[in-house]
């Protein structure tokens, strides 16, 4: 049969042969054929090795085991081990008079023993450990290992017999005895204590004997007598010496002897040295031995054999905790290993380098790694990039260095950089105000050479959008920079390349689109060209791009007056907030989710709301910017309405001046009277707002100081008039939302602000029954995060009539201590009875209008 299967040329043929054989075997099982049973089972095992299902043969195994002859039993047990696993329950004869059969049973037990079997058979195995035949003794010892691994409680029964095995002369039994002791020490502290007291000296003596033993052909491997025994002994000694000074002291001499005398030109010798070093590192401190051990590792590290270098790296990682200084000495060699062609070595070396980095060596190490990034192969780049980024982020001594290194990484392997890494970079850039110019120029240069690196493109596009004028005008030039001449249209080129590149994904394109909008205001000379580029995406199949394109197009074409305010530079991103938000960011940054406010009457409110949304989409910024924009928007519209003579002058001057003034008036915390408040007072034409007034009054001077631009006053006012949706919207600055909706129930929130207290929002919640049954015992509960305070007034009723014939209202008062930084969120729970059945519904309200 084996021959037939091997003759098969294709997998299909092989399957056919196997199917036929299986059929024949099944038939013969059904006939209960005694003579062929073990042959069938042998065939089945082969079939199983090829990966075919053989469960139907399991009973046959048991029948074979139950039969009398040795050959049958042998195949039976072999089948048992191969075909069955520990999930099946089997019976095993450990009391058989034939020692070979007992051996088979032990073998099977050792390989497939389950926890139940372990409990049942532990006494038998324990007895067999004193059996006269050494073959049975060693098998029983190994079986015990399996048993105590499955059921650690049984360990104490095995301590004494195991200790007696350590006095054996027979190598096979001795080695299994040592194994058993090692595993006992791992599972049972009592066993460890006992063996430490009773056996340490004996083991040291055994090791001494083995090390000094004369040539023994039976156990000789490369001139060393039984290296396996050496290794097991060293391993057990390690466990005994760990955390015990006396035991460690006892083994010092022999360890020194092993470390110095062992030949290191063959694998076997190195294996012993390796184990010895590990033992020296683990046992209680002995300076001399440690030096010896580190030297051995140094030798290993410079060995030409890759295997040896691999274990050296492995060991050095553990040595880091013991003697970091000594490991640092080998830094150069370790760095070489990072560049090895073998993935196993590279991986170890990289992990080791990661441990080696500290404040003092971070610069040279990072330089080495980044240099290597260029040469490394593709599958290693991901790992390497992640490690470099985390090293740079962790140890960077100053911002300029951090930005430099990150730019290098982005240039070399931008495609491997994770989202949160470049998000973090943008936050850092945004906070390093003195480096904006430097960064944007460096990014511009990098983009010219490496425009295929996605995340580099994103960061570059973002920075050019934000700091484009610094690029063109060489603002904030550092001494170390080479001068660079970039025209406005060059800067626009970057964004255009990014948006037109086929490989760019949606996020990049959307970021490029926003950058273009921002540039259109920063570089009036390119405005027409940008408008054309943006207009090309009006027909984009991707909804997001299409929508943005149409919005931006109308911003450029119709809303000149608000444009520059709208595209003002983003406020500095808050590092602390970002760190907190770091975890959820990857999810929310996935290509622009448009948060259409739930149930808002779209036509009038949409432009405003969408524009606000945009501000949260265009960068991984804390969403606080929304409030900012809102205020800026309102501020701009507000000024003409107040009809101050100076305003139009200021307007002529470009909104910047006004905006600047306003933003002086609105300190970063934005504790200015809330927007609706300003509006209502202006609309009612009562006393003009004092702060605004004060702010605006100096504007004529500044306006006169700088010659007025070409935009006539009339134009501007016209532009304003053609902008009705936004103005209309001023009345209800915060649209009401559907906070919760299920099949039975809908909750609508209306918002209002108390004058003079922007932090507090009054919410009127209106609940409507959507089902055809009336709801009784209605209770509404809400919970908010720590930065919010919530006060709930009693509800207007506890019964909701069926089909929306009436509603319950309840007033909530929310105070936002982080007003302007964080938006409201709320978790709600609604309990009620429907048809006398208790129903509990829960939800989270995330769609609060920004700026509350």
């Amino acid at each position: 049969m084996i021959r037939a299967i091997r003759a098969c040329k294709t997998a299909a043929e092989e399957r056919a042969v196997v199917r036929k054989e299986c059929a024949a075997i099944r038939a013969s099982i059904n006939e209960n054929d005694q003579d062929y049973r073990h042959r069938n089972l042998a065939k089945l095992m082969f079939i199983q090795m090829l990966g075919y299902p053989t469960h139907f043969g399991q009973m046959e195994c048991l029948k074979l085991i139950a039969s009398a002859g040795f050959p049958e039993k042998r195949i039976g047990y072999l089948g048992l081990m191969l075909l069955l696993d520990e999930r099946q329950e089997v019976l095993i004869d450990l009391n058989h008079s034939n020692q070979y059969i007992v051996g088979l049973a032990l073998c099977a037990l050792g390989n497939i023993c389950s926890a139940e079997m372990a409990r049942d058979l532990a006494p038998e195995v324990e007895r067999l450990m004193q059996f006269r035949d050494p073959n049975i003794r060693k098998k029983a010892a190994l079986c015990s290992i399996r048993i105590i691994k499955k059921v650690p409680d049984l360990a104490e029964n095995f301590i004494n017999p195991a200790a007696s095995l350590l006095k054996e002369k027979h190598h096979g039994v001795l080695i299994t005895g040592i194994q058993l002791c090692t595993d006992l020490c791992k599972v049972s502290p009592e066993a460890l204590e006992f063996l430490r007291k009773k056996c340490t000296e004996g083991l040291v003596k055994t090791l001494k004997d083995v090390v000094n033993s004369p040539y023994a052909p039976e156990y000789d491997i490369a001139g060393i007598t039984d290296p396996f025994l050496h290794i097991r002994l060293l391993r057990l000694l390690r466990l005994l010496g760990q955390g015990d000074a006396d035991a460690s002291d006892c083994m010092n001499d022999i360890l020194a002897q092993v470390a110095t005398k062992t030949e290191s030109n063959k694998n076997a010798g190195n294996a012993i040295l390796y184990e010895c070093v590990e033992t020296i590192m683990s046992i209680e401190d002995n300076g001399g031995l440690r030096v010896l051990a580190i030297n051995i590792l140094g030798r290993f590290l410079s060995n030409r054999d890759n295997n040896i270098r691999y274990v050296a790296l492995n060991m050095l990682m553990r040595a880091m905790t013991v003697d970091a200084q000594a490991v640092q000495r080998h830094r150069a060699t370790i760095l070489e290993c990072v560049k090895d062609s073998d993935a196993s070595i590279r991986k170890r070396a990289l992990e080791l380098v990661f441990l080696l980095v500290n404040e003092s060596n971070v610069k040279p190490l990072t330089k080495e790694l980044i240099d290597y990034l260029e040469a490394s192969d593709q599958e290693f780049k991901g790992d390497l990039t992640a490690k470099i980024c985390s090293i740079v982020a962790k140890f960077s001594p100053e911002k300029i260095w951090y930005i430099d290194q990150m730019l290098k990484v982005l240039t070399e392997a931008g495609n491997f950089v994770k989202d949160e890494v470049w998000h973090a970079l943008i936050v850092v850039i945004s906070n390093a105000s003195d480096l904006h110019g430097y960064t944007v120029r460096a990014l511009y240069r990098a983009f010219q050479t490496s425009s295929e690196q996605e995340s580099l493109v994103r960061v570059a596009v973002w920075c050019i959008g934000e700091y484009g004028e610094m690029l063109v005008n060489n603002i904030g030039m550092l001494d170390i920079e080479d001068p660079i001449t970039v025209t406005e249209s060059d800067a626009v080129d970057v964004a255009e390349t990014a948006i037109k590149r086929h490989a760019s994904d949606l996020t990049t394109k959307a970021m490029a689109l926003i950058a273009l909008l921002k540039l259109s205001s920063r570089f009036p000379s390119c405005s027409e060209r940008i408008k054309d580029i943006i207009a090309q995406y009006k027909g984009s199949l991707v909804l997001e791009l299409q929508q943005r394109s149409i919005e931006f197009n109308s911003v450029i074409a119709k809303h000149q007056n608000i444009r520059s305010a709208l595209v003002e530079r983003m406020p500095v991103l808050d590092e602390a907030t970002f760190m907190v938000r770091r975890v959820p960011i990857p999810a929310s940054a996935s290509p622009s989710i448009v948060n259409l406010p739930n149930g808002v009457s779209k036509p009038s409110a949409a432009p405003l709301v969408d524009l606000l949304d945009l501000s949260s989409d265009d960068a991984p910024a804390p969403s606080s910017t929304g409030g900012d924009f809102l205020q800026d928007l309102l501020g701009v519209e507000l000024s003409p309405a107040s009809n101050q003579p100076g305003t139009s002058h200021a307007r002529q001057n470009g909104t910047d001046v006004l905006l600047d003034l306003l933003s002086i008036g609105t300190p970063p915390l934005q504790s200015v009277p809330s927007a609706p408040d300003i509006l209502s007072s202006v609309q009612n034409n009562k006393i003009p707002l004092a702060p605004l007034d004060g702010l605006l009054s100096p504007t004529p001077h500044s306006a006169q100081a700088t010659p007025a631009r070409d935009a006539p006053v009339i134009d501007f006012l016209d532009g304003f008039v053609t902008n009705p949706p936004v103005t209309e919207n001023n009345g209800s600055a915060f649209p009401s939302i559907v906070a919760f909706e299920s099949s039975n129930l809908r909750a609508v929130f209306n918002f209002s602000k108390t004058p003079g207290n922007p932090q507090t929002t009054l919410i009127q919640a209106t609940f409507t029954n959507l089902s055809s049954d009336s709801l009784t015992d209605f209770i509404f509960q809400a919970a908010v995060p720590k930065f919010l305070q919530l006060h709930l007034d009693p509800a207007s009723g506890s019964t909701l009539p069926a089909s929306g014939n009436g509603s319950v209202t309840q007033n909530l008062k929310v105070t936002n201590s982080q007003h302007g930084k964080k938006s409201l969120v709320m978790r709600i729970r609604i309990a009620y009875k429907m048809n006398n059945k208790d129903i509990l519904e829960e939800g989270q309200v995330n769609n609060f209008p920004r700026g509350l």
Binding site: E86, C107, N111, K139, G172, P227, F228, Y310, S341
Partner: protein
């Protein structure tokens, strides 16, 4: 033609030999004989077209297991007198028998070539 003889020291759930095979075969002969595999390490050694692979704990001594594979191959070589792949395929049950004398419950059982060959002789006589 490669034929991995797989000896899991700890059962790793479903049979991973196919994956190990792919992992091991593609490696350059100059590379280390160790590959990390899930939570364990695969130690392999190549003899002409045959790969012998052992899956061991991450903390185990790699060099020792490398030596262990060599010892096993020497035993096979002795037993079949000049072992070749066909010997192993047609006598897979005997290979398992030797393995059972050599390794049990994932631990080394006997380090003497002579002892194992003698033991095999005894077992053969019983058949």
């Amino acid at each position: 033609m490669a034929d991995p003889i797989h000896t899991p020291t700890e059962s790793t759930g479903q049979d991973p030999s196919g994956k190990v095979h792919r992992l091991v075969v593609n490696r350059d002969p100059k590379f280390t004989n160790f590959v990390e595999f899930r939570t364990h390490k695969v130690i392999y050694r190549r003899y002409a077209g045959l790969f012998f692979s052992l899956c061991v704990d991450i903390t185990d001594n790699e060099l020792a297991y490398l030596e262990c594979i060599h010892l096993f191959v020497e035993i096979l070589d002795h037993f079949f007198s000049n072992v070749c792949e066909l010997d192993l395929v047609f006598n897979f049950h005997k290979v398992y028998l030797i393995l059972d004398e050599f390794i049990l419950a994932g631990e080394l059982q006997e380090t003497s070539k002579k002892a194992i060959i003698e033991r095999m002789g005894e077992l053969e006589k019983l058949e």
